[in-house]
Symmetry: C2
Subunit: 338 residues, 2 copies
Amino acid sequence: MREREVIAEFFDFAAGEGVRVGVGDDAAVLSPPRGRKLAMSTDTLIAGVHFLPSDNPFFVARKAAAATLSDLAATGARPLWMTLSLTLGRAVGRKRRLTLREGKARDEALARRKKWFAEIARGFKNSAAEYGYSIVGGDLARGDETKLTTTALGELAGAPLLRTGARAGDDIWLSGCVGDAALALRLRKKNPGVVPPLAHKRVNERLHNPQPRLELGLALAGLASAAIDLSDGLASGACDLARASGVCLLLDSAKLPASPAMRRLRADMRRRLMLEGGDDYELLFCADPRHRKTLDKKFGGVRISRIGEVCAGGGAFALAGGARESLAGRGYEHDFGD
Amino acid sequence: MREREVIAEFFDFAAGEGVRVGVGDDAAVLSPPRGRKLAMSTDTLIAGVHFLPSDNPFFVARKAAAATLSDLAATGARPLWMTLSLTLGRAVGRKRRLTLREGKARDEALARRKKWFAEIARGFKNSAAEYGYSIVGGDLARGDETKLTTTALGELAGAPLLRTGARAGDDIWLSGCVGDAALALRLRKKNPGVVPPLAHKRVNERLHNPQPRLELGLALAGLASAAIDLSDGLASGACDLARASGVCLLLDSAKLPASPAMRRLRADMRRRLMLEGGDDYELLFCADPRHRKTLDKKFGGVRISRIGEVCAGGGAFALAGGARESLAGRGYEHDFGD
């Protein structure tokens, strides 16, 4: 099963809006919308780091797309085009190293690998159809480790949402609720019986099938003063936004919205997961208090919560019972020092 | 050494033409040139597959950029913007797995890793300065295997060069010469003394520091009927172009330009390397014979050679001594079947 066969059999993405030439030539040829700015972002998921090799490839593909679409959401852009770069790891479809003589085992491994490609392609097609963008190109390689890199381009109707615009006096808002993806990861190892089946199912959905908040991002144009997506957790995102805007973010711990599953946990554990858990792909944004009426509890297709306020100064803090706890250095970050 | 520190210390790319917001926000914000189409392409280099872990990271970064820029060259686009997705493998900077107590060895490994990042960033900056584009974003992760994915956007002044436009009667042209990168790989294992030092140095340069033919690609607008870049070798590129255009490509083996190093080899070996060797990033293109005078031996900043003609039919063939040899299935391709 060679590269060109795989591409021809599985990666036959349809060309949509603004696509003059899609998959199959040296480069895609695209017509950007007249007079509009573009937003561009890239993100990577690695097997064993961002997902498990045993995870359902349909959802792995959707999540790889969502990670990058979430960046466009936080910029207030509508996705137009995406390229994929896929590396298939040696382990996919193969349970152990096979000799040339093991014909049947090799056939089975090949069948599993074909199934993997089919499901990956189906996941990307499904995401593209749901969020209205086209997949216009990519590359496919064989390596030791499975990896999915997606790069997306979106159009901006007006001024972009940036991390830099928060001002003292602004409200701080959060879409959806946070910590559920991290809770799902934890429950994969051990469920001490406190989270009932339905709530467990819901947090699993949050881990494996995150929703990029594209509709909300578009609706926030002209309302939010700053925004960031929370791929690495609320604490980390709050610190990044505070640093970029040169302000201080004070989050009220009592106002953080908890999912039903999260409410079953002990308070200290809940707090830690909600502040430090990554992979939720929610938006954290700031807005002048005069927009409170517009920014109702449900806005841009998703429930939003007012969780704090912006002050002069620097850093990000969680307030609980009158105490101020620094959020610096908390949350997921790749470490290159070990 | 955490992700944000690495980005702040090494990946501080300057924002250039059309860049409203570059590295550092959720997405880059870009102003595309008015009324122009864009070309978009992506490519990945993997340690152990496309380069050796011991290769100089400055040149690895330049080559990762060149692989994608070469796709833009083959489309006739001028590069504007690029995003990077870098995965640092566990092995970088570390000679073996270290325990917590081996403080000095850990410090040395960290210093080597910092050096690696510094050189990778310097390679990308150098490429961006040479070819006039901006690096506008990216992501950085830790994995088992070192990988560099680059995604580039370029602008098209007019109609794009595609693989699909070749017509019977067209001439077939080749930029530079082919097979040198494959020869350099071979000489790395064994130089039977036939290639003298200076020629050896030149083919090494071709392997480690390929030049994307951007100037040529731009100059070919309105002249070439079809074009493709030869990342996977001449045979493979000729077959792809023939298939896309629905024509037959006849290459005259006697007209293939050989470098001084290549001329030292036995005829059968030379022929195989020139047809099947990948990684040269030259352009193969077709043009109506009335353009012969314009397409002189030196065109678009590089020597070009007329190496065959397009006929009705299908497939790609090399002619040698009156015999016609099929080029199907020859050259590098990732295999997912083992």
